[in-house]
């Protein structure tokens, strides 16, 4: 029964016109990045990761996801979370599900599953397009790391797969908090606005050294540390901290959403 509900949820998400448009938009990002670096020619690719991009197409997927994690991927997660509960309430379909009946806790898990599956799909899609576009525009010869070493193609793929999982986890954590907001309203736009505002405000707060006591609690603080995936060997410290922080967001978001859903009048 639950697999059938999971399947229905993912199919429903994939059938939404806005999901398809969103996915199309996401795959444009690695293509544009690859094209941009290729057309800029041999020049300086900028600091950090940008510097090793030229002639290093395998880095494009990592660079793409790393950039997108700041705004684009949270936006997509918030849209899915918004449609999941607030959108269903708005169309009156939430009533139908609850009367079927689907228990409220299970419904939340169905929604979380949909969010996770679609996030993983979107992130993987971006990575795959990134590999293809990066290789096509910039060529590749293994994967050059930030530490200066060069990994084999197979090892490069492993790094990309690891990064996909890390980014998906961050995205789902944001989505889980957005689901909690989504369970309180029937206006999807409110959910998106609230989530994006929070992400942006967190990033601004992260810029103030005087607020450094607050930084360990902001999910956005964990984003930059994920780039350690591109070092050789991988230092796990920051990656672990970021993932743990995202895990806390996920638990809190899910808990709040469950509490709200159970007592909600619909």
């Amino acid at each position: 029964m639950i697999t059938r509900q999971f399947g229905s949820e993912v199919r429903w998400m994939l059938r939404r016109p806005r999901t398809l448009i969103g996915l199309f938009g996401l795959i444009l990002v690695p293509i544009i990045i690859s094209f941009g670096i290729w057309s800029a020619g041999e020049g300086d690719g900028g600091p950090g990761l940008g510097a090793i991009l030229n002639g290093n197409g395998m880095v494009v997927p990592i660079f793409t996801l790393f950039l997108s994690l700041n705004l684009l991927l949270p936006l997509v997660a918030s849209i899915w979370a918004a449609d999941g509960l607030a959108g269903e309430a708005q169309h009156g379909t939430l009533r139908g599900l609850l009367v079927a009946p689907v228990s409220r806790v299970r419904l939340l898990f169905v929604k979380l599953f949909g969010l996770t599956a679609m996030s993983l799909f979107a992130v993987t899609l971006m990575a795959v397009v990134g590999i293809i576009a990066g290789t096509a525009f910039l060529g590749t010869n293994g994967m050059m790391t930030l530490s200066g070493t060069t990994l084999s193609t197979a090892e490069g793929f492993l790094r990309i797969a690891f990064f996909i999982l890390l980014v998906t986890f961050q995205m789902v954590a944001i989505g889980a908090v957005a689901l909690a907001v989504s369970s309180t309203t029937e206006h999807p736009l409110v959910v998106q606005a609230a989530t994006m505002t929070t992400i942006i405000v967190f990033q601004v707060l992260g810029q103030f050294p005087s607020l450094d006591w607050l930084h360990p609690f902001l999910i956005t603080t964990g984003f930059p540390g994920l780039i350690d995936v591109m070092r050789d060997p991988i230092p796990l410290g920051q990656i672990w901290d970021s993932t743990l922080l995202a895990g806390c967001y996920m638990l809190i978001g899910t808990g709040l959403a469950a509490m709200r859903l159970i007592t909600k009048d619909s």
Binding site: R4, R15, H91, T93, L98, D265
Partner: protein, 334 residues
């Protein structure tokens, strides 16, 4: 008729019930949407739930389906207490509440398939067939491939009905099922309700269309200002309200004074008078009139329609309370 808010009229016999509420109350903030609702839905009955807009019909239905938590009171649905027993009771309940709710970007058929995926009683292999059958039953088979976005109000309503009928149900709850339907559609709904009744399903229909209820229902519950003011079998309720005699006579004045002397209440009406049969009987009235020398051309038992009963139950009180009542009526949640 003995009717008051504190002691609702209840007729009918003790039978197995499909649903029952006891002292149901729901507050939204400071507004009391529903109060002291004791509803009994006998098994196999077609219960028409009547009431003006904002009288608490939909709120009561939403509580019956476990969508809304009552502030106070108990609910029993198909023998299971709510909300804890919802998981066991609701699979046997089909519902169309507060208008149809579907995804505009999916076709009618795809919407139903999504509903079917969440029906506990529907095995995966039967989903396709169940969806086609339901579409056929509500007359949507031709339009099933079209997007819900483009459906007319009547088609949307039909799709909602199809979702309620995906699985054979013990209880079907229809909230204003004929909304937006043309006369042919209304007849079809009536037919579907009759079929359900024949198959032994219990049906709860809420409506403000009295003719609708009178034509399809075996039982009636009248809600007014958030509480049940009368419920029972339709025929009994109508009889209870219909104790009047219409007498056609040219001597209205003589007749009135004769009846007044005999302490029988009457008033002029049309070509004759209307005599209340409370505390008296038709032969007694006619005897009184004939003894007084009044020519009685015709005497007919006054047949109360549901409309009159409804008006008496909901409007009399309104007039007593004055216009202030209207505000609260409109202010309540739907």
């Amino acid at each position: 008729m003995t009717t008051s808010t504190s002691a609702p009229v209840t007729t009918g016999h003790k039978t197995a019930v499909a649903a029952r509420t006891k002292g149901l109350r729901k507050e939204y903030g400071s507004t009391v949407a529903v109060d002291r609702v004791d509803l009994e839905l006998p098994e196999g009955a077609v219960l028409g739930m009547l009431g003006p807009n904002g009288s608490g019909k939909t709120t009561t239905i939403r509580m019956l389906l476990g969508l809304v938590r009552p502030t106070q009171g108990e609910i029993e649905l198909l023998g299971k207490p709510l909300p804890d027993g919802a998981e066991h009771a609701l699979p046997h309940v089909g519902a169309l509440v507060e208008g149809p709710g579907f995804h505009p970007f999916l076709s009618g058929r795809e919407n139903l398939i999504r509903c079917a995926a969440f029906e506990p009683l529907l095995p995966k292999k039967q989903i396709k067939q169940a969806v086609e059958d339901a579409l056929e039953r509500v007359g949507l088979a031709q339009a099933a491939h079209r997007r819900y976005r483009g459906y007319s109000l009547g088609m949307k309503q039909r799709l909602g009905l199809a979702a309620a009928l995906l699985v054979p149900r013990k209880l079907v709850v229809l909230d204003e099922p004929t909304n937006g339907l043309d006369p042919a559609g209304t007849r079809e709904i009536r037919k579907i309700i009759a079929d359900l009744h024949e198959q032994g399903s219990t049906v709860l229909v809420s409506s403000h269309l009295l003719s609708e209820v009178e034509a399809t229902c075996t039982h009636v519950a009248v809600l007014h200002r958030g509480t049940v003011v009368a419920q029972g079998e339709l025929t009994e309720l109508l009889q209870a309200g219909g104790s009047a005699l219409q007498v056609i006579t040219p001597d209205v004045e003589t007749a009135l004074s004769a009846l007044r002397t005999a302490k029988i209440s009457a008033r002029p009406l049309g070509e004759g008078l209307r005599v209340e049969l409370a505390g008296t009987s038709a032969p007694q009235v006619i005897e009184t009139l004939v003894k007084a020398g009044v020519g009685v051309y015709e005497a007919t038992r006054w047949k109360t329609g549901l409309e009159e009963l409804f008006a008496r139950l909901t409007e009399a009180e309104e007039a007593e309370r004055g216009m202030s009542a209207v505000d609260t009526l409109d202010g309540g949640p739907r």
